[in-house]
């Protein structure tokens, strides 16, 4: 018996786009509630004064990861029909390094810059404009750098394959890593508030 979810391909284009809009509203609202429309809050992550970014992102990853694992195991969700981004090892390493530098310059990432702009922050709107410019210039120059972006194409490659662990064991490793990161984050924030020495 095949799992009933995801609906995905069974939906028409218009209903897909309507669902995208609704999910986007929830996405934007949760980012705003967490305070991630604020560049100063995000920058606090990199100066270890406010680790909201780590706490929100890691608990979101763990929640969704556990949901996927258990819905898959219970036969509700067919994980083979969930799209996994393909791995392009070297361009993703290089792109990540470049992205990280831009993250500190702007104090926002692409999604949070949209929230910042929507909540009245001019710096958010300017970051959005910068993103458009960056994508346009890179897209126009893609003839010369495109070869690099296609290198080390490994297809769908997941951590359990690389770590030689089962899916469940990998999930457990990520949960433990997240709990350790949360403990360190709380400690660092106490140190930043002067309540505790390093």
């Amino acid at each position: 018996m095949s799992a009933p979810l995801p609906l995905g391909a069974t939906l028409g284009e218009s209903s897909s786009l309507a669902i995208a809009f609704v999910i986007g509203i929830a996405f934007g609202a949760t980012l705003e509630r967490a305070g991630l429309g604020s560049a100063r809050k995000l920058a606090g992550q990199f100066y270890l004064t406010d680790l909201t970014v780590l706490k929100v992102m890691f608990s979101a990853i763990v929640t969704a990861m556990l949901g996927l694992f258990w819905l898959g195991r219970l036969g509700v969700l067919d994980l083979t029909r969930v799209y996994v981004p393909e791995t392009y090892l070297v361009p993703q390493l290089a792109g990540g390094l470049v992205f990280g530098a831009g993250f500190v310059l702007a104090g926002l990432c692409p999604g949070t810059s949209c929230v910042a702009a929507a909540t009245g922050r001019i710096d958010g709107a300017v970051t959005v404009a910068g993103m458009f410019a960056g994508v346009l210039v890179t897209g126009a120059a893609f003839g010369s750098i495109g070869g690099f972006a296609e290198r080390t194409a490994l297809g769908v490659r997941r951590l359990p394959d690389v770590l030689h662990l089962s899916y469940g064991a990998t999930v457990l490793v990520v949960v433990v890593a997240a709990l350790a990161a949360f403990a360190i984050a709380e400690r660092l924030e106490r140190v930043a508030r002067g309540e505790e020495q390093v």
Partner: protein
């Protein structure tokens, strides 16, 4: 506009809520969230309107034109429209809508906006190379345990911590 802004939510509760939104996208659509992809589709749409031949020559824009559907009729474009509405609505309900320029205590407005534009441009390049950003790679690919996404997470935060001491004047 003169209301006292409510404090932000507890980060763990907000994170679990964000994770449930991401899970809903997986369960309903069979795909996760994203942000930079919406920028890519929109840029392709504009490039095609302004300079159709040049846009079609770029292998990057061609990616978004290949299926024959106009690039703006894309899942992520509608999702990001929702992000703007949802973010604005949430801030309004919490009394947090403010027209401001957020900047570090030592940085004037002009330089702040210049750095914001430069940062956006840099992230644009990075997201094109990495095929995604903090949403499409870190959150979505992270929850799916994709190797390339975890490489992106480590690289992006590693670079951010390496660069942050040099940019202290921006934020502290």
């Amino acid at each position: 506009m003169s209301r006292t802004p409510q404090p932000y939510a507890d980060p763990y509760r907000a994170g679990v809520a964000l994770g449930l939104v991401l899970l809903a996208a997986f369960v309903v659509m069979g795909r996760g969230l994203g942000a930079s992809g919406a920028f890519a589709s929109t840029t392709t749409e504009v490039a095609t309107l302004v300079a159709p031949q040049r846009a079609a020559q770029s292998p990057y824009f061609a990616r978004y034109l290949a299926d024959g559907v106009p690039p703006w009729r894309d899942w992520l474009v509608f999702e990001i429209l929702g992000v703007v509405i949802g973010g604005g609505l949430s801030a309004w309900l919490a009394g947090r809508l403010r027209r401001t320029v957020e900047r570090g205590p030592r940085l004037a407005t002009g330089p702040r906006l210049t750095f914001a534009f430069a940062g956006g441009g840099t992230m644009g390049l990075g997201a094109v190379l990495a095929r995604g950003c903090t949403s499409g790679q870190a959150l979505t690919g992270g929850a799916l345990l994709s190797l390339g996404s975890w490489v992106f997470i480590v690289a992006a935060f590693g670079a951010a911590y390496a660069v942050a001491p040099l940019l202290r004047r921006l934020w502290t």
